[in-house]
Structure formats: structure tokens, C-alpha cells
């Protein structure tokens, strides 16, 4: 188990060094987007109107600084969902269908173990790497309290990413071993925005059409968004305990399903 974990950690850091420029893009794009989501509507109407409208939608009184803090924190969940869903699925796909290293993995360990460790460790490593840009900005905006907010947000995002890693595996295993799909990105490119749009992300989930909402409700992302609202608006931590309960339930469910699927896939692969 430890050797598999060490191999995955090594792989992740080697990839981080190799694809550093991708991470720079993943830091710049959310910054621009968080500015855009507040200041673009402000340029069309006025900053006061934007703060008032955001306050009405979220049901809290806020100032421009809080509005931007919320906008910034939500970029974190966008990055985490995009990276986790896409990378967990596409890495497994590449390893077993393009690079043909699947046999090496199966010689070294059991498939279910590899799948679970990959689904848990990879998001845990990548989440801080893709959300690091938030720390200096929240510190600048809200002082020491901002740093504390960042740590809470980071914990929420890391827990969510583990659940999403397992969720992504549930799609990846049948896709790789039981279908002839040759373009996995067609699935990840739709699933990622469907989850994010379905969860509302920047708007309350009640405003989202039912079909999209149902897609998002198969993941803990809507609860993550509520937990992020709570942190940003410094509200009552009730939402955090609901988030914890739903996340625990989802994680256990995903482990059970992905474990079952992995075992079936392993039998199929070992039989040839």
C-alpha cells in the first residue's frame, strides 16, 4: 500500500514540475474570472448595484470586499472539479489504453487498491496546488482572518476533491474496461461544467433548472458551495455540519461502488 502511495506521489510531483506552466494558467484564469464576475457587471451597472444584487441573491448584507472574497473562493471549487474529474479519469484512461502500463500496475498491486489510492491521493495533492493562488489574495483582502478562511476553504475543497476523485473513478472504470470509447475527454468536458452549472456555484441552486440540478446532486458539490457561502459570509456553521454529513455519506458510497467496479474490471483484465 505504502509503495503504491509513494509511486503516485512521485508521479504527481514529477508531473507538477513538467507541467508547471499549466498550473500557472490554472492560477491566472480563476483570478481573471473572479475579477470578471464582480467587476464586469459593475461596469455595466455600478459596483453598488452589484453588491446589492449579490446580497439579495445570497440573503446576506455585504460590501464590495466580501463580494470579491466570495467570487474568489468559488473559483477554487471550479478548479477542483475541473482538475479532479478530468485528470483522474484521463490519467487512468491513458495508463490503461494508451501507455499500456496497466500490466505493470497489475503485476505490482491489486487493481482496486491502485484505483482507490489514485482516486484519493491525486486530488489531495492537486487541490492545494491548483488553489494556492487564493492564499495571498484572501490574506490581502481580509488580513489574518483571510488566512484562516483560506485554511477552512482549503480543508473543504480537499475533502470534496477526495469524494470527486472516487466519483470520477465510477465513470472511468466502466469507460476503460467495458466500452470502446476512444475520446474520454468528450465525457469529462461535459461532466465538469454540468456539475458546476448544476450546483449553481455563483447563484443559489434553487435558480438552476431541475435537470442540471439532478446531475450536480449526484456529487457533494452543491453542499460544498453552501459551505463556501457560509465561510464567506461568516454565517452559522450549521451548513458545515450538513456538508460533513453529506460528504461522508457520498465518500462511503463512492468507495463501495468504485471498489466493486474495480474488482470486476480486474477479473476481466487478468482473464485477458
Amino acid at each position: 500500500m505504502l509503495n503504491v502511495a509513494k509511486a503516485i506521489v512521485y508521479r504527481e510531483f514529477a508531473w507538477f514540475k513538467r507541467f508547471l506552466s499549466d498550473y500557472v494558467v490554472l492560477w491566472i484564469l480563476p483570478l481573471l474570472f473572479s475579477l470578471g464576475v464582480v467587476f464586469l457587471p459593475a461596469s455595466l451597472s455600478s459596483p453598488t448595484a452589484v453588491v446589492k444584487n449579490m446580497g439579495m441573491l445570497y440573503g446576506i448584507e455585504m460590501d464590495l470586499k466580501t463580494a470579491y472574497s466570495i467570487a474568489l473562493m468559488f473559483t477554487g471549487i471550479i478548479n477542483v472539479v475541473a482538475v479532479t474529474i478530468s485528470d483522474v479519469m484521463q490519467t487512468l484512461f491513458a495508463e490503461f489504453r494508451f501507455m499500456e502500463v496497466g500490466i505493470m500496475i497489475l503485476e505490482a498491486t491489486r487493481f482496486a487498491k491502485y484505483i482507490i489510492i489514485n482516486a484519493v491521493l491525486r486530488p489531495l495533492i492537486m487541490t492545494p496546488l491548483v488553489t494556492a493562488y487564493m492564499a495571498p489574495l484572501l490574506l490581502y483582502l481580509n488580513g489574518v482572518e483571510g488566512l484562516l478562511e483560506f485554511l477552512i476553504v482549503e480543508a473543504i475543497l480537499m475533502l470534496t476533491s477526495v469524494a470527486l476523485g472516487l466519483y470520477s473513478t465510477i465513470f472511468a472504470v466502466p469507460l476503460i474496461f467495458h466500452t470502446n470509447v476512444s475520446r474520454p475527454w468528450t465525457i469529462t468536458s461535459v461532466l465538469t461544467p454540468a456539475i458546476l452549472a448544476g450546483a449553481g456555484t455563483y447563484i443559489p441552486i434553487e435558480l438552476v433548472p431541475q435537470v442540471l440540478r439532478l446531475v450536480a446532486l449526484t456529487t457533494p458539490v452543491p453542499e460544498t458551495c453552501k459551505a463556501l457561502y457560509t465561510v464567506a459570509s461568516k454565517g452559522f456553521p450549521q451548513a458545515l455540519s450538513t456538508f460533513g454529513a453529506i460528504l461522508t455519506f457520498s465518500t462511503v458510497l463512492y468507495i463501495a461502488v468504485s471498489g466493486l467496479l474495480s474488482k470486476r474490471a480486474e477479473v476481466k483484465v487478468r482473464r485477458g
Partner: protein
Amino acid sequence: MIYIGFQLAKMHVSSYAASIVSSVLWFTLMFVPTILFSGLREQALFLLAPGGYAMGIAMSAMWVATEFLRWNVYHGLTDLFRECGLNVFHYLLSNSIVDVIFTGFIIYSLSMVMASAYLGINITTILPARPVYIALATLLAVPVYLLVGALIGLLMASTNIGGVWVNIIQILTTFGTVVPPKIFPSPWIALANPATIVAELFRAGYGTNTLPLPHLLIMTPLLIIVYTIASMWIGLLCEKRIARYGMEYRY
């Protein structure tokens, strides 16, 4: 070339379908909050959505150009293209009709329908008052697509930038398109982005353009000619550079 473009699109129909659905969902994720936060509803939608169309065209051109230089270098096909007298301009031309007219318009129409569902506005409200300007914008979008793609192709062939830096350059295309020219000290500055005029003509269909319509109408035929010739010339320059110095595969 256009026939080849359609055949390529048929080969990659699942990727096109995924790209359409994905773009519509990203539109709702990014633009619906912006529209709701502004409090301007229809007015904000008619300002932002045409900008989204123009930005999508420019971004798509950059993806196609980088795809040409990345995958064809990787597969060793650039020499084959050269022997047939083809370059990045021709590859862009083959994709232009599918990307600008079909994919671009389907994404735009579906995004407007989704936005109307979110905002609770009547679907007939999203129909443009003056569709002729939208047709004109679409016509101009083809040379803009060719120019932007050829420019990024030349940039990739003559510098060491990788695909991810192209993503950052793509963000610059938001200025003048999604970010309307009215926020600039002088709105004419926004024309530095070739896609701005497509967005403004598209907005004219809804009467939300910032730049004066008579000026846009005078510039349109001139820019169609200038952009087409410029993109052909830039495509040749790009090809000459690759022929002389070669090009390494870059992620």
C-alpha cells in the same frame, strides 16, 4: 477545403457535440451570474452573449491553428502539407465554415435559450430586432477567424511558446468582445482586437452596440478584404519559417 472541413467534422462528430454542450454549460456557469449581478437582465444578456460568440470564434481559431502546428508536427505531416502547397491558412479555411457558422451559431442559440430559462424571459425576446446585422457579423467572423488563427500560428512558429501560453493569450480576446468597448477610455481602442467588430455588429442586431453603426458598416467590407489578404500572407510567412527553421513538437 470546405469539403475537407466537413469530412473532418464528420470524423470528429462526438467531439463537436461534446464541445457544443460543454460551451453552453460554461456559458450558463459564467454569464448567468454576471447578468444576475448586474441587475440589467435582457440588456446585459444582449451585451454579453454577442461578445461570447465573437470571443468563441477567436478562441476556436487559436485552438485550430495550434492543433495544426502541434499535431501535424507530432505526426510529421507538415512536410506533406507543404508539398501540396498548403499551410495553416488552408487548414483554418477548411474548418472555418463548420466552426463559425454551424458550431458557433448552435452554441450561441442554445446559450440564449438556456439564459432565457434562467432569467425567466420569453424566448421570443431573444430574437434579434435587426437580424441583417447578425448575418453581416457572421460573414465578417470568417476572415476574423482566419486572421486570428494565422497570427497565433505565426507566433507559435517563431517563438518557443507552448499551448498553455496560447490559453493566456486567448483571454486577451475577452477585451472588446465579452468586455464591451464602452469600458475603455476611448471605445475605438477595443478594435485592436480583431474580434471586437464581430461582437459590435452582432450587438447592433439587438441595438446594444457601443461603436456607431454607420462606421461599423463602412468598415465591414474593407476589413473582410484586408483580414483575408493579411491572413493568407501570414499563413505563408508561418510556412516559410517552418520550412527554414523546422518546428519542434510543443505541448
